[in-house]
Subunit: 334 residues, 2 copies
């Protein structure tokens, strides 16, 4: 039974656990500082006739197949599959995962999808609706770039605040036993401070992260120092700096425990990604590659995982709208 | 506590109920046979400078505001808001609902979103994660037409199998008491028989509806005649005929109790909508306008609500992909 608490926090009293997880990434991510943690790194060029969108669907397939295999499960063991991605009508997920034949809940949380899908899968298991549930998401540099910005072949100059969409996918299987427990979740509110620069996603998402993290700490009466890591999804260097400033303004200093998946996944000095990595696959592959591994090994015990998303489309930006953000928090303990 | 049953059915043992609901529709829907049942019918031209996307967001705002008002609630009474729509990155929902400040779960289920969001809201209340949860969705003829098909001004000839996207939105508030109870839900699987005609959504979605309805009847050991109405979302005339044929092939005859929101909302003889209405807003406004009203009044007692969605994008169709469908079922009793 879940229990609603202060600020809308949801305490999961039946304690769902992480049963299995896997991360599949592309070439550039496989050359980054966390390469050794990813289950599948694809260094090969795609077969002829395979579109970038199909490649991205393939990343989701690999991540879910591997998570099932590592846990010793079949697709038919999974009761509900929660998934979404950045593409119009979430085609990476629907086309990538249709072959599994699992009851499917499509989500849209932009780059916050890993914490959103993990929240929903945890709630399903906690409530008894599912014995086992899976959460999957992905992103791909070329599919995102051509959909949201400019044709990839055009080779446009990127601004210093721009981030590099990660080619990657993460899959988590949630069930009733394991080493890592999902304790509680806080679903984010749509937060919009009027930022309109589509080349500065970090600034658009930072206010949502600040809102969710401060509401979470308040609801649980905890301090940043109570966590081994408060990890955001893909704020990058610009958004992370803004997050610190916004929180300091409310008397909260997370700088000693804060990490951002967008600043971790690439070598910011050497890999020419400007403000860092981004995309649903960024926090997904860091969670399912590095973070959950370190939790299982006991090196990290208490992690607040806060993936962040920017909820705009090219249409909304062309119509002069600002960029709303959202951040969902999941508290994990080992 | 929810209980997982045969075929993945989820029995909601704490019996969440419909607390309030409202439907907001456009001019054409307000001239159809169910006009009297909609809470808001907008006959006025939009203000200058208002885009069609903003109009669609406005329909969601009206539906949710009205549902809150009818129930005597404030936005702050709602713990979780589940919403989604057809537009790229679900902008009708994110821009329409950001002002409410409710913790937000974005969903993507295409035209199945009303039964998906209602399922998720019901599970949240049943599990204790929320005291009250809301489910909202919408569609708009002009936003859908220009995004998925041709520029509206172009006035292209429509095929006989084409459907007319409904301008409409529905909002439901789920809580712990009321006249209409949500008994159980069955989440759909992605179903794809290889249909590729983007002007024939009914044919793409009918196999998913057949799969979900037959699995539901099997799981509950019930017959079509046990229901006052088995209602699909927007199969239209072509998809409804196919659904009947697919089910007859498995020994199930739903023809006496089957209704399709797409065939109900417009006068198919007089309103020139070809195969019927479609869009998330079609089943949403029929549920929140007509069906729930008739259930509260006692005229309908036992309804299986099965909204259906087609999960393609223009990109997937341009790449030659087929059109996968999905159908989620919600069992309502008065």
């Amino acid at each position: 039974m879940a229990k609603k608490g202060k600020n809308g926090i949801i305490h999961l009293e039946n304690s769902p656990y992480i049963l299995s997880y896997a991360a599949a990434v592309g070439k550039k991510e496989g050359e980054g500082p966390f390469a050794a943690y990813f289950d599948c790194v694809d260094m090969s060029p795609s077969p002829d006739g395979c579109s970038w969108e199909q490649e991205e669907s393939g990343l989701q397939q690999k991540a879910l197949h591997t998570a099932l295999k590592k846990g010793g499960f079949e697709a038919s063991d999974i009761d509900i599959l929660y998934a979404g991605d950045l593409l119009n009508q979430s085609i990476s997920s629907t086309f990538g995962l249709r072959e599994f034949g699992i009851p499917f809940v499509g989500l849209f949380g932009a780059c916050s999808t890993m914490s959103l899908s993990l929240s929903m899968a945890s709630l399903a298991v906690d409530s008894g609706a599912a014995e086992k549930a899976a959460a999957v998401t992905s992103s791909h540099f070329c599919t995102a770039e051509r959909q949201f910005r400019t044709p990839v072949d055009y080779g446009g100059q990127r601004t210093p605040s721009a981030q590099w969409t990660v080619c990657g996918s993460g899959a988590v299987i949630v069930g009733k036993s394991g080493k890592v427990r999902i304790c509680d979740i806080l679903l984010g509110k749509i937060t919009d401070l009027g930022q309109t620069d589509a080349n500065n996603m970090g600034a658009a998402m930072a206010p949502a992260a600040a809102d969710t993290i401060s509401r979470y700490l308040d609801a649980t009466e905890t301090e940043p120092s109570d966590y081994d890591m408060i990890v955001t999804g893909d704020l990058g260097t610009v958004g992370s700096q803004l997050l610190h400033e916004l929180l300091i303004g409310t008397g909260i200093d997370i700088s000693l425990v804060h990490k951002d998946c967008g600043m971790m996944i690439f070598d910011l000095e050497k890999q020419d990604v400007h403000a860092g990595g981004s995309g649903c696959g960024c926090s997904a592959s860091m969670l399912c590659g590095y973070i959950l591994r370190k939790m299982e090994e006991g090196e990290l015990k208490n992690v607040l995982f806060c993936a962040t998303g920017a909820l705009m489309s090219t249409t909304s930006s062309q119509q002069g709208e600002s960029i709303p953000g959202i951040c969902h928090a999941v508290h994990l303990t080992a």
